[in-house]
Amino acid sequence: MYTLSNRLKIVSLILIILGAIMWGTSYYSSHHVTTEDVKTMLAEEASHGGHGDTHATEDAHHGEEHATTSHENEAHADAGEHHGDEHAEHVMHQIHNRPWSALYVAAFFFMMISLGVLAFYAIQFAAQAGWSPLLFRVMEAITYYLLPGALIVLAIAVLAGDHIFVWMNPDMVNPESADYDKLVAGKSGWLNKTGFIIRALIFIGGWSLYRFFARKFSLAQDEAPEGDIRNFKKSFRIAAAFLVFYIYTESMMSWDWIMSVDPHWFSTLFGWYVFASMFVSGITVIALMTIYLKSKGLLPAVNDSHIHDLAKFMFGISIFWTYLWFSQFMLIWYSNIPEEVTYFVTRIEDYKLPFFGMVAMNFIFPLLLLMNSDYKRIPWFVVMAGIVILAGHYLDIFNMIMPATVGDRWFIGMPEIGAILLFAGLFLLLVFYALSKESLTAKGNPFVKESEHFHY
């Protein structure tokens, strides 16, 4: 049995408050930026050389791009031609978007961890895995964050509106407006606010329903008399059904919640790519939590073979993520079709370090660190790899959202770090609260004996 310590409560509250203050100040200061401020700022940047120069060339470049492909959001439209007001307004929008995007990226990141864990948990039941039942309570605790986390993501999306999702701007689908965008209007059958909210509620409802019943049956199985595995059978059935529901809704969720920030762009394997990202982050968090709880002596039956298996999953799914990342990148790079390739052009030009840095963190680092099977059994090695993997997948989400909303005005500063701290605190608080509610071993599970004797 785990008891939520006061220290943990205090740490998470400090994280939440500190994060909220950091994010709040940056929100406050950026939302008072007006076009006039931006003009002075741009003039200053230009007089300092350096940044100003790159800007001028980038603008010229954007101009060309727009002439041929009419890409990106409304304010972007004529940036190349009228340098003055339009550009200043465009930059002002980017500055206003930044705190919203920073909040959204962090909220999505922590939500996706618990969604990834939920999928992993369901797979363990559906596959009747013999090694993992000892870790079921840890997984159940992490998925406790899913319902609040996903609702927060939805709330931020709706509140931020066109600060994140340009298609939420009603002018874009209004043929009378100067901001009318034919491509976005063409997609308005799917991309409209009502549909977005209804779909999101269906996704969140389905996932939470599964989570609720899975937890209920798992706890009921503990109380069941010896030999009565009716609840386990129910868990098995709903896990199989959930996995079907999940793979459809996860895909649609990634179109809605992530891909639609670039409403002119589309990619078919995007859903799986986001899935790989959430799956590996989820498994990493299971491993980190397990190592932490084991070090506290709370999971005595967990041995280093369990850690080894989790590390193998971290290793394998990291490579799976890279495979999807590269498949998406290489297919688009190779054929170089203008309407698709702008997605990577903006990322490579403005996000070179995060874009390629994340490949190093999510692929090369785990590849070399976790290849050796002895290293997979050393807790601090797994923790080190896990931290890099988590940071890498934060950057992955960052790279998906930011280029569409703040463009080259990105930085990992106050709003980003504040938002991470805020949600990290919330995540820790809720997950460890859920952990403290029940015994840490799913003792009624028919596979738990096998799991206790698991060795590799």
Partner: protein
Amino acid sequence: MEASKVIHAIYNDDDVLMHAVKEVRAAKHHIEEVYTPFPVHGLDKAMGLAPTRLAICAFLYGCVGITVATLMMNFIMIEDWPQDIGGKPSFSYLENLPAFVPIMFELTVFFAAHLMVITFYLRSKMWPFKQAENPDPRTTDDHFLMEIPVQGNEQDLHNLLVKTGAVEINVVDKAH
């Protein structure tokens, strides 16, 4: 060549064999070889065999593979004849890297896999037309055989092996 004697103790169950291996080792006898019809989980640990280094070899062979692929394509596509093929940038290796990755990956796997298999064959001395070395054909079907060299007290060893549940014990002269 001096002829030396070995004892062949035959078992018909892998659990019995495992116990026998542990007891024989505990009695400080050297086990020359164990012949089994299938892999017995944990037998190598019980016999105290050193872990294999085949995986390390495979990693190094993989490194060779990726080097070969890189040097080859860099020479052919970039240095020797940097043609414009469908607008692909062949100014430097890095610029055209994504197009080379599938080949780099495949050659890494190819080298790692094949060279590791060949290393395995060489180290375990397996090749076509090689003379089979099993001392008793039943060990390929349903019997397990432990081979222990005799040094001095043959009767003691015999008693020990009987105690461990051997179904058959033969003393064999083995030409070295």
